[in-house]
Symmetry: C2
Subunit: 220 residues, 2 copies
């Protein structure tokens, strides 16, 4: 019975995800779903990304947190449209709440890229599609190099893996080669970019990825 | 209906948690439930704790992970009885699986303290009681000092807060006073210990806490 319920929750979510996909396709908007542990550096990554994007992309952000609007406040300071979802005790965003958020975001402003920062969690967000074009995993070097193997579900599903906090690498025993090998066992296609969000070092491939994603024409 | 289902899952879990509590009380065993993000340093904390405990406490460990037995292997190397639970896609341990684990652990060895290392997750494990005597939160300085406010559920419920990776403090903008203040708004009683698991610095209060917990007589 537990399994049936689970299936029902997931299938209702999938219906909303399809709605979202249709909404985005109609308006030629790309959407990324950013997933990582609490403190992996997701908001910091967004802040640096905004600085480097300049005017090239009309960005909108959806922030998911259990409580507070701290992350939305940080994004708003950068002058980017943002919508904060508070999930209460909810451990992931669902497609329905994101639907409301994307409608709000797109009401006043022309947007061509939405980045959803999911609730900090390596497990549950991987199971709930939001209608996004790509899932992006964020893993910081301070979390350790065993996380890809220990949380395989997410790393199998992502289209990009971002390794963050590279400036701290020399203070840890994180081995980038170990992570790369473990990741390739689960995911043969997704690029892996390593970077540092405070200095901006290593951001070029990620910025190119975003530009390419937005410029890609729909194959209608 | 979703809420009813949730209640049913939680109440079935609570029944098992009561079983666990009875099992532990009967044998005069204490149990701690260690909760923190992926990469907060839970296993590393356990390794150093084992080194410092020596023969004073008969410890047993239950490891919870989605996949792999990496953490159990690390504990086993230290010569401590350990039981690995793999949850598959499950984002937290439940009382039933822990019941099986504690029975196995206690079959051959006399044990007076069980530490459960929950799945790396700041959200879901906080909702599922395992029959433990205390929940212990593990938060690393590299995760940022906003996490107590952003994930209030866990920090309200814990009996101890351990701040880990203190050796990395100077490389971050983590402010211990900010965390202490935020924590005291949610939780007036639980002690907060800051420590570094590689060097063992700051471990004394935590070791005293463990010794006191085990020596406390049941008030039968």
């Amino acid at each position: 019975m537990k399994i049936k319920m689970r299936e029902r929750v997931l299938s209702s979510n999938d219906a909303w995800a399809r709605e979202n996909k249709a909404f985005l396709t109609e308006r030629n908007i790309r959407m990324l779903n950013l997933i990582g542990s609490p403190g992996a550096g997701k908001t910091c990554l967004l802040e640096k990304t905004i600085d480097l994007l300049g005017e090239r992309i009309a960005l909108g952000i959806i922030e998911g947190d259990l409580a507070t609007a701290k992350d939305a406040d940080r994004i708003r300071k950068k002058g980017v449209p943002v919508y904060q979802i508070n999930t209460g005790s909810g451990c992931h965003l669902n497609a329905r709440s994101v639907h409301k958020a994307m409608r709000e975001l797109c009401t006043d402003t022309p947007i061509n890229l939405i980045v959803v920062e999911n609730v900090g969690n390596l497990v549950c967000p991987a199971e709930f599609d939001l209608g996004e074009d790509a899932k992006v995993a964020v893993l910081s070097v301070t979390e350790g190099d065993d996380k890809v193997e220990k949380y395989p579900l997410l790393f199998t599903k992502v289209s990009v893996l971002l390794i963050t906090k590279m400036a701290l690498l020399r203070h840890t025993n994180f081995n980038l080669t170990t992570v790369r090998k473990a990741f390739r066992k689960l995911n043969r296609m997704a690029p892996l970019f390593s970077m540092d969000s405070l200095s901006g070092r290593g951001f070029s491939p990620w910025m190119e990825y975003l530009n390419a994603a937005v410029q890609r024409e729909d194959s209608k």
